[in-house]
Amino acid sequence: MKKIIISEDDFQKFREFFYRKVGISFENDKRYFVDKRLIERIELTGANDFRDYFIMLRFEASGQELQQLINVMTINETYFFREEYQFKCLVNSILDEITRNKKDTSPIRIWCVPSSSGEEAYSIAIYLLEHWPGMTKWDVEIISSDIDSVMIERAQRGHYSSRSVQYLPATLLTKYFKPSGDGYQICEDLRSSIEFTCVNLMDSVEMRAYRKFDVIFCRNLLIYFDDLSRRLAAETFFDALNPNGFVCLGYSESMSRISSLFRVRKFPEAIVYQKPGVDL
């Protein structure tokens, strides 16, 4: 088999394209990492060389290869307390702003999408119980949704591997989990406190039932969507939020590649996005 080589100019060309489409910019010190994965995809797709592969990547109507490439260039793993800085932002900044502006005592509504196997929604619940003083005053509703019904079942079951709980402080593991089989079972109180639903974000009719949220967590999902799907997801989130509600994206994601509908907001812990209020 012929040896595939990525030249300096190939790398720069790819880097610019990937940055524009995905929002991730690889510095030169990532060259080895990027080259290795590019070569792997070039070989797997049967492309002749970088040039052929790049043309396919750029012009492929379905965008499937770009999705594959994003997969290998990013780490998509879910575990408890992943990207914890955002939960800190939630309890230290976001919720206080929301409760300050709330005109009634209706529950705070939080939507996690995609639910995946539930780690994120449960992490938020634990974080609120442990770190948000407002829990004594406010009711909170957490809804966690995924397109995949198998994931929803797993989330509802609440059984996790030790790998998935490895970043949880030991005290919290003891407090909210019981060892079970070769992993851990989340406690019944938490299990019953979250509503898990199966949804398709692209189905606008189905989405009409998702309204009046204060915060949406949508991490590491839109990065895999094509431009049109990103646009539709942003429309859905906009309508699902109350005025001044927030969207939290994943660490390597930015609204700059997704939509103009939201305003960028800086908090000490994180940058998040906000639906403009009605006065504007």
Partner: protein, 209 residues
């Protein structure tokens, strides 16, 4: 635990009342409440033939969330009226609207391709620049040929500059002669020299497929 759980996500009563009728939606599209206008714009996606009233509204509406919804619906309708209307908006005085429209047209590659030749020779240089911007997303065999023609013929330096940027990404050795010629057309423009040299370097030792 103070977590509460409802059995079903809430159904908004307003949403239930939302009309599906074209005429009613057309009235809602000019309502004074932007929430109603936005909802009408999204619901019009179910009506082939709604493009004209949507375009009409797009040109006037000052609310970003309404314009965004209108554009989303126009993308999904994607008919001739939508495309013609979007092209008209490229000539708008409103910079934000023009940029939003370019973004939308990038998502209609098949619909825009047939009119690309005429957009690229439009009398308005701004429209030509936007046309090159739209080419960025076009998955079409002609893209390189179109870009070559722009840098060969277009008298406006900024139209050529925009085209060279894209050629650095999609160009092959076919474009080499046109690039060199462009450099000689604007010998005193450092930016053009810089961009042409970069594009030539990126094109590299190409077999010219």
């Amino acid at each position: 635990m103070p977590f509460i759980k409802k059995n079903n996500p809430t159904m908004d009563s307003y949403e239930h009342d939302c009309s599906r009728d074209l005429n009613e939606l057309a009235v809602q599209l000019v309502d004074e409440n932007p929430v109603i206008r936005r909802s009408a714009a999204l619901n019009l996606a179910e009506h082939q033939g709604a493009s004209e009233i949507l375009i009409d509204r797009l040109k006037q509406d000052r609310d970003i969330s309404v314009r965004d919804a209108i554009l989303t619906t126009l993308i999904s309708l994607g008919d001739t009226f939508a495309v013609i209307g979007l092209v008209e908006c490229l000539r708008s005085e409103d910079a934000a609207l023009r940029n939003e429209v370019v973004d939308a047209m990038k998502q209609l590659p098949e619909k825009v391709a047939p009119i690309m030749t005429s957009l690229l020779v439009d009398v308005n240089s701004d429209v030509r620049i936007f046309a090159v911007n739209i080419l960025e997303s076009l998955r079409h065999l002609q893209v390189e040929t179109w870009l070559d023609r722009v840098i060969e013929d277009d008298p406006h330096i900024n139209v050529c500059a925009t085209a060279v940027d894209l050629l650095g990404e999609v160009g092959t050795s076919t474009s080499r002669a046109a690039l060199i010629h462009l450099r000689s057309r604007f010998p005193d423009e450092p930016y053009i020299c810089f961009a042409v040299n970069l594009a030539l370097k990126r094109i590299g030792e190409d077999k010219g497929t």
